[in-house]
């Protein structure tokens, strides 16, 4: 079920092409928009939020109720959409509660008090809501911005680099919050260039490189799609050398290395390796202690995408 549809969208500023022919569909749950600095993530987010018009292509929002609408010049989308921008866009002289309330009033909510309390409770800002924002730490400011973006109970939440500068505890809180919101069926789209944040949080990722969409989907599935690169596994067993000899004998093994930490095996056929490894060790009475796909981390996948531009 697509909630945000982006079709052949490009955006340029003179000669600079910030976003180059991007097509993606974003559904409910948490999606991470990933890419190095300058890849165009902020631009895409701002276009989805209706702040920027695409130079070409269309961005439409498909709300649960109602017709699909393009995002540009359509204030109605804000009923269903909340944006948490990267910049520090809060009025420091207001208290947290006042800030969220002012946003509630801008949305012309029927019962602003209840909505404000709910949003503040959701972001765990109850204790600090009566203090002026100027006294907040960076993480607290982020959270109050999220509260303001949630006050009208939107279906879609867009966050631009939400974890910037947060310390681990704040980050965990924010991740838990976003995961919860995603599990409720909302559509959460957040951008980041810190992979370990994205890896923990989102199932689906969209990777942007230099304005183009390099890959979409689950990052492990993406890795499996990179068939030209051998997969790398770390294996520890009770008899590494024998296992190494056995593995070398198999056609799907391209390289085996004996290291202090065990075997490092490169295989050209992920499926074949997985299917055979348990059988192989059992039949030769080798105890298997550890089997780890080492380059399935988001970092490796990302590195491959960047360097090879998608192989």
């Amino acid at each position: 079920m697509t909630v945000i549809q982006i079709k052949n969208v490009s955006r340029w500023y003179g000669n600079v092409v910030a976003v180059n022919d991007i097509t993606m569909d974003i559904g409910p749950g948490v999606t991470g928009l990933l890419g190095p600095n300058g890849a165009g993530k902020s631009t895409i987010l701002h276009m989805i939020a209706g702040f920027l018009a695409p130079s070409r292509g269309t961005l439409t929002v498909h709300p649960a109720l109602g017709e699909p609408v393009p995002t540009w010049r359509n204030p109605d989308i804000y009923r269903n959409l909340g944006l948490v921008p990267e910049r520090d866009s809060v009025y420091a002289f207001l208290t947290g509660e006042e800030f969220v309330r002012s946003t509630a009033k801008l949305h012309r909510l029927g019962n602003p008090g209840a909505a404000v309390s709910k949003a503040i409770a959701m972001t765990d800002m109850g204790q600090a809501a009566d203090r002026r924002i100027a006294t907040y730490s960076k993480g607290m400011r982020q959270r109050i911005k999220v509260a303001a973006a949630l006050v009208h109970d939107p279906e879609i939440l867009l966050l631009d680099e939400p974890f910037n500068g947060m310390d681990p505890r704040q980050r965990i809180h924010m991740m838990e919050l976003l995961a919860k919101l995603g599990a409720e069926g909302r559509t959460i789209l957040f951008s980041s260039h810190i992979l370990e944040e994205v890896e923990r949080l989102s199932g689906t990722i969209q990777v942007m490189v230099a304005g183009r969409l390099a890959a979409s989907g689950d990052f492990r599935a993406i890795r499996r799609l990179m068939t030209s690169r051998p997969h790398v596994f770390n294996v520890r067993s009770s008899d590494d050398r024998t296992l190494a000899a056995l593995l070398v004998g198999r056609p799907w093994t391209t390289a085996v290395e004996l290291t202090a930490k065990g075997l490092q095996v490169r295989t050209s056929d992920f499926g074949a390796f997985c299917a055979q490894i348990a059988v192989l060790t059992r039949d030769h009475k080798i105890a298997l202690r550890e089997l780890l796909p080492t380059d399935e981390s988001l970092e490796s996948v990302f590195g491959y995408l960047i360097s090879s531009q998608g192989s």
Binding site: T135, D167, I172, A275, A278, A287
Partner: protein, 345 residues
């Protein structure tokens, strides 16, 4: 170049065997209250051992106050701190002679070359002119800047600029490096390169390092120890190994047939629990591994992961303890405590 016998410098912790290694930084009840009532540090007591130590959690006021105190630039309101044996108040100048500092933010002039700049900074550290030139050249080589060093810094990428910052900290031959978010602004490849460099410095050059970062993955990767600060106080200080000790749970992933595997394991007497797209099995000895292996082989399932779960540094920052079978899982209920009440400013 004259040949030498060893591979460089002996690490600092080479005291008599059995003797505890001398602390690199010691803070005792360190407190700093700014006019206006903001408490940046509220009674911090901690010891940093030699090696590579990660510093987490002190964000904003706490971290920069701590660094300023350690460099002898600010006096604490109460308590004491000493760096490499020198008191921070009485021996500030001496501390700054043996400590190299790499700030978090941009701090490089754009219109000089790296060579000129690092040489100048070497002279500012008290090196005579020739020594400054030589050590600058060496420092730039060690951080991996080659012909680029003769170009103006304004033309450098973020990664190269971070390396220049590191080089100027190295030029004065420090015994301790304070690195503040050294991978800030770097893309994954650059981050990787910087982390490898820091690791190399810590291991091969024999220089103790304190890395302030909020990326736990990085810290787990290159640090031996960790100091976690929260609300101006010590949360925990320990070795990384103690944080990431193995738990008694085995995680198993198969590409298909997870349910069938779960049933088979139950049949063989194990107690698997579902966890995202894998199974968690309590380890009851070496036999557990073999049972799992045999079950997978008999069913002909493709095994893609089998590992003993380790704890993560991140668990330190979760409000509640681990929920369920020894696993840190997203969505675990958080406690109501809000330690950020003290985290103002």
């Amino acid at each position: 170049m004259t040949p030498s016998t060893g591979s460089g410098v002996t690490p600092i912790a080479d005291a008599a065997p059995g003797a505890p290694a001398p602390a690199v930084i010691e803070a005792t009840a360190l407190t700093k209250v700014y006019p206006g009532g903001v408490t940046a540090l509220g009674g911090l007591t901690v010891t940093f051992a030699p090696g590579v130590t990660g510093l987490i959690g002190a964000n904003g006021a706490g971290k920069s106050t701590l660094i300023k105190i350690l460099l002898g630039l600010v006096e604490p309101s109460a308590g004491t701190a000493s760096v490499l044996g020198h008191d921070s108040v009485a021996g500030g100048g001496r501390i700054r002679q043996v400590v190299g500092y790499m700030p978090e933010h941009d701090c490089l002039p754009p219109d000089v070359s790296a060579t000129e700049f690092v040489t100048h900074m070497g002279r500012m550290s008290g090196l005579p002119a020739t020594a400054a030139r030589e050590r600058a050249a060496e420092a730039l080589r060690h951080v991996g800047l080659h012909e680029e060093r003769y170009r103006q810094i304004g033309t450098y990428s973020t990664g190269m600029k971070q390396r220049v910052k590191l080089a100027q900290a190295l030029a004065g031959d420090p015994r301790l490096l304070l690195l503040d978010e050294p991978t800030n602004g770097l893309d994954p490849a650059g981050r990787n390169a910087m982390l490898e460099l820091i690791e190399r410095i810590g291991v091969e050059f024999g220089i103790s390092i304190v890395v302030a970062s909020h990326l736990l993955g990085e810290i787990e990767r290159i640090c031996d120890r960790l100091v976690a600060i929260e609300g101006g106080r010590l949360l925990r200080a320990d070795t990384i190994d103690s944080f990431t000790r193995a738990s008694q749970t085995l995680l198993i992933e198969v590409e298909e047939g997870l349910a069938a595997l779960a049933d088979e394991l139950v049949r063989r007497g194990l107690r698997p629990a579902a966890y995202q797209r894998s199974l968690l099995v309590p380890i009851g000895g070496d036999a557990t591994y073999d049972t799992v292996r045999d079950a997978v082989a008999d069913l002909g399932l493709p095994l893609s992961r089998m590992e003993q779960r380790r704890h993560q540094v991140e668990e330190l920052f979760r409000d509640s303890g681990p929920a369920g079978p020894d696993a840190a899982r997203l969505g675990a209920p958080g406690a109501a405590a809000n330690p950020e009440a003290a985290d103002a400013r």
